[in-house]
């Protein structure tokens, strides 16, 4: 499944109330089948905006995109797409439902009830619970789980639909380093089992280098693509690889791009956790 963004410009009403704030300034990007694509950029550069455009989520009261087109397999993307599912930093699990019910949540909707027979729904849910390691917590409620476990529920709820594209907006951004690392390992594992094209937004350079087949770097707003490179090193990638010449050169290159051409303050908030 191919996603093509061309000439994407996004403007929002300026926070001061006068004029407009240009966030994305002509972004051209193509995501090909079955890769783990990392979208990196300083805070507020429009990463979420770009991801929402691909996911068909439109902001209220703002034309989106201001200019440009989003094509999914050649078709203009105007709203929800059955094959594209998003995961957010906030897990958004229903607090009143059990873990199992949360994973099965999309099957409450007519769309999926028609598409997926009941028996298959059940077997997929069981399979997902086992895949994210929550089979023994199936009857717990979200409040009885840790943050990492809650995000596992959200991942399972997305992948239970077997999406061909998974859009993740800083899904591990709220977790501490140790748990974040576990989740990164889990994600690599999951997409090996349930292949899907992933676009993963992060502002953590280490995360981008540990996970990505490809790393796209956006500049500070008005954002353009500052850098776009592939990483061929096989996963899982070790700490040692990160500290190797290749790894550290890549990190340096990203930092350089994030800061480049915008003066000393231009880097925004960039997190490096090597």
């Amino acid at each position: 499944m191919k996603i093509e963004l061309s000439g994407i410009v996004q403007e929002y009403p300026a926070p001061e109330g006068v004029g407009v704030l240009r966030v994305l300034d002509g972004v051209d990007l193509t995501f090909e089948e079955g890769k783990l694509n990392m979208l990196l950029g300083p805070s507020g550069c429009g990463k979420s905006t770009l991801l929402h455009l691909m996911g068909g989520v439109r902001p209220l009261g703002v034309v989106s995109p201001t200019e440009g087109t989003v094509l999914i397999d050649g078709e203009p993307c105007t709203g929800h797409h059955d094959d594209v599912v998003m995961v957010f930093q906030r897990y958004l699990n229903r607090p009143d439902l059990t873990v199992r019910q949360n994973v099965a949540f999309p099957f409450r909707f007519k769309l999926w009830r028609k598409k997926v027979p009941k028996a298959e729904q059940d077997s997929r849910v069981d399979e997902m619970l086992e895949a994210v390691g929550l089979a023994d917590k199936a009857h717990h409620r979200p409040s009885q789980l840790s943050g990492g476990q809650n995000q596992r529920v959200a991942l399972a709820r997305a992948l239970v639909l077997r999406p061909r594209v998974l859009l993740a907006d800083e899904p591990f951004g709220a977790l501490d380093a140790q748990i974040r690392h576990e989740m990164q390992v889990l994600l690599v594992d999951l997409i090996a089992r349930f292949p899907t094209t992933v676009v993963f937004v992060t502002h953590d350079i280490t995360e981008a280098l540990i996970l990505g087949d490809r790393v796209v770097v956006l500049s500070t707003p008005p954002a353009r693509i500052a850098d776009d490179f592939t990483i061929t090193e096989a996963r899982p990638r070790s700490e040692n690889w990160l500290r190797s010449t290749e790894g550290s050169q890549m990190a340096a290159r990203v930092i350089e791009q994030l800061r480049g051409g915008h003066g000393p303050e231009g880097g925004g908030q960039v997190r490096v956790t090597v």
Binding site: V57, H80, F88, R90, P95, D96, F105, R108, L111
Partner: protein, 262 residues
């Protein structure tokens, strides 16, 4: 040091609550016993207690239990109507800013409207029978419930609806499966407020042509200048309102244990 977040055990809360109540009754008893205020204006606690016993044993439409039942039945029937009509309306207003724009000027100012003054109109339209009383209670409580339900829906972060639609929900399914369940505890709060409002309006509702009920009892004894019985009637309404309130709050804690966790 005073700490506004200091936890309090339920035992401590009960003791403090009873202490407050006890002090109020003690002051009341003291004032009554001192003879400073005539019993006509302030019947003594023991007189009110005696009046209660008296009323409990009264025959016919003056029987306290019959009256309490008649009032409770009106409150209950009106509440069913309040919930059946008000909750969907509030959800609709909370889910569509257009519907809200249309209905909000009609509903919101009514909270401070003199609902009591509306009684003659209700009587004019619905007659002097049971229907008018229930319509009046329904009206009085609905104007509180509907905006509260709307606000409960609006308070659910938009991302929940966005997620549901991203997972394939229609807008209606997103409300039904994502927004409404999260708003439900606050909707139940609105229902609890609605019952409270109904209890405050029950005496007014029973102003016109009631043949039984606590409000009717209070008026009857007022006419007879039996103020100890008037106090007793008010006391019973307070107790019944308190009991419904506590029962609903208990039910709410049972239904939504997740609300206080997290």
């Amino acid at each position: 040091m005073w700490n506004p977040h200091e936890p309090i055990s339920s035992r401590q809360r009960q003791i403090l609550g009873l202490a407050g109540l006890g002090t109020a009754v003690a002051i009341w008893a003291g004032v009554a016993a001192s003879g400073l205020v005539k019993p006509y204006f302030l019947p003594a606690p023991w007189d009110v207690a005696a009046a209660l016993l008296d009323m409990a044993q009264a025959e016919g439409d003056r029987n306290l239990f019959g009256a309490a039942w008649a009032s409770a039945r009106r409150v209950g029937l009106a509440l069913i109507a309040v919930v059946i009509i008000g909750v969907p309306l509030g959800v609709l207003m909370g889910s569509s800013s257009k519907v809200n724009a249309v209905l909000s000027p009609l509903v919101d100012p009514m909270r401070s409207a003199p609902v009591v003054a509306v009684l003659p109109i209700v009587v004019l339209w619905f007659g002097i029978d049971e229907t008018a009383k229930i319509v009046f209670l329904w009206l009085g409580a609905s104007v509180f419930l509907i905006p509260m339900v709307r606000d409960a829906i609006v308070a659910v972060p938009r991302q929940h609806g966005v997620l549901a639609e991203d997972l394939g929900a229609t807008p209606l399914e997103a409300i039904r499966h994502s927004v409404f369940p999260l708003a439900l505890p606050r909707i139940v709060d609105a229902i609890i407020v609605a019952v409270g409002v109904e209890w405050t309006y029950i005496t007014v509702a029973e102003y016109v042509n009631a043949k039984q009920g606590l409000g009717y009892l209070i008026q009857t004894y007022k006419r007879l200048s039996a103020n100890d019985k008037v106090f007793a009637g008010i006391f019973v309404i307070l107790v019944m309102a308190l009991v419904t309130d506590q029962a609903l709050k208990l039910l709410k804690r049972r239904l939504f244990p997740w609300e206080t966790e997290a």
